[in-house]
Subunit: 276 residues, 2 copies
């Protein structure tokens, strides 16, 4: 296990955590705080330009841990699924331009009007299969992110790490997983699934589960403020061979999004040292 | 498969769905609507008295499909866990007095201050093990109910049907499961887990998952108003050998709890005929 304390080499910030800043300010703010990684989102990169984004990341010696996000493969009509595939190819190209380590894929939920979750899951498999060779050519690893089952209806029908790994097994080289503690901490099969994942864990995300949780999407907690055994899960992913950053991804409408991002970064640094 | 249409022999109402009525009115209201089963809660039975509850159920030829609820085995201190075990033995006795078909067990969440979900799960196993012989003597089957993973922190650390079945395997005769579509519909392993459960499915609960869902506990939908494939899951449980009622259990602060229970019962009857 790596030394936990005082080591910012393994702390990254997801753009969503400090989203009131534009990307340039995010990169500069992270660098100023001693943070060595950032996970940019497509909208931020589009606003700044992929080339300029890459230059700024390099100038600050900042790792782009993962590019957020592709996916959303499900649609009622074939035209919608085709459009999603084309859009994901563009996301792969952008991720490569920026120099990100992987592209995160959030599957998508049930198409409007559908109750067929098995069908939606098949659409996701077909969608990833349709972009896998493009990703391999671009040397851009795809990180399938299982999302918490409470998002299965409207966001992500990939609900467990084992289910994501089944997709990896089926789809072959260049396809791995994103592990976010918020989405997987509850899973009785977690320890075995992380071991099964091994070095297919392409990115590792942290935050915390609050009690009570007021919203299904935007009420995540800062590490240490909730009930997730962060050090326990980190030990599992590192034992599996993961040696990358811990990306702080906090959607928090009632708390962290209302604060000054510079303050949020300071708290992330403190909590990374004390509890992650 | 049983005939779906116009058959109220398999419709039951959980007391929680029409909780603004006292139990006597619930029983009489269900009988008047042609409904043949009810799932009483402990508070309602305590208010009416177990003996009188049983008499009223018999007088209306009403099946008490399951008794809600035991469980809540987790606690920070041993004294708290011991108190839970004693309380569950009382719940078993009450369920037997009322003549219920099984006692539903909701595990309990993480003890306050704890981040140890594996430990909480061990407490649940130990708790059920400590009441199992009491339940066998009382001839009262115990129905472990997996709850949606979004409740794992504060309500129920038994999060999947397979996890509940692992407990059944370990604990032996007299321990089965409660299957509630709301809690399990998202599970990629659902079909296999229901087949594995077989006749250990002691009670089957229905409602629907709304999009969007506004609250983690009290925003369930009426059958047909959400995205759950109710007929698909019912076919699975019946293929596994389940031949009991479909219990309508709807926690709905913003809609169904605000309505006249007589109206709610009529809608339950219509939806049972058309979509369950």
């Amino acid at each position: 296990m790596r030394d936990f304390t005082n080591d910012l080499r393994w702390l990254a910030i997801n753009s969503a955590t400090i989203k009131s800043w534009p990307l340039q300010q995010q990169i500069e703010g992270c660098a100023q705080a001693g943070i060595t990684g950032i996970a940019p989102w497509r909208d931020g990169v589009a606003a700044l330009g992929p080339k300029r984004s890459r230059e700024l990341l390099r100038a600050h010696d900042m790792t782009a841990t993962c590019y957020c996000r592709g996916g959303m493969f499900t649609a009622a009509e074939a035209a919608g699924r085709k459009a999603a595939i084309e859009d994901n190819k563009r996301a792969i190209d952008e991720a490569a331009e920026v120099g990100a380590r992987c592209l995160v894929l959030v599957a998508g939920g049930l198409p409007p009007g559908s109750k067929d979750i098995a069908g939606a899951r098949a659409q996701v498999r077909d969608g990833i299969a349709a972009i896998a060779s493009h990703a391999r050519t671009a040397r851009m690893p795809l990180a399938i992110e299982p999302l918490h089952p409470m998002t299965a209806a409207d966001r992500c029908v990939v609900s467990t790490l084992d289910q994501a790994l089944d997709l990896c097994d089926e789809l072959g080289d260049g396809v791995g997983v994103a592990v976010d503690v918020y989405h997987v901490w509850w899973d009785p099969a977690l320890k075995a699934a992380i071991a099964r994942a091994g070095t297919r864990i392409l990115t590792y995300h942290v935050c915390d589960w609050l009690v009570p949780t007021a919203d299904l999407v935007a009420d995540r907690g800062m590490m240490g403020d909730g009930i997730i055994d962060l050090r326990g899960i980190r030990a599992m992913v590192e034992a599996a061979g993961y040696a990358g950053h811990c990306d702080v991804e906090i959607f928090s409408a009632r708390n962290w999004w209302t604060r000054d991002p510079a303050e949020v970064l300071q708290v992330c640094v403190e909590r990374h040292r004390s509890v992650v």
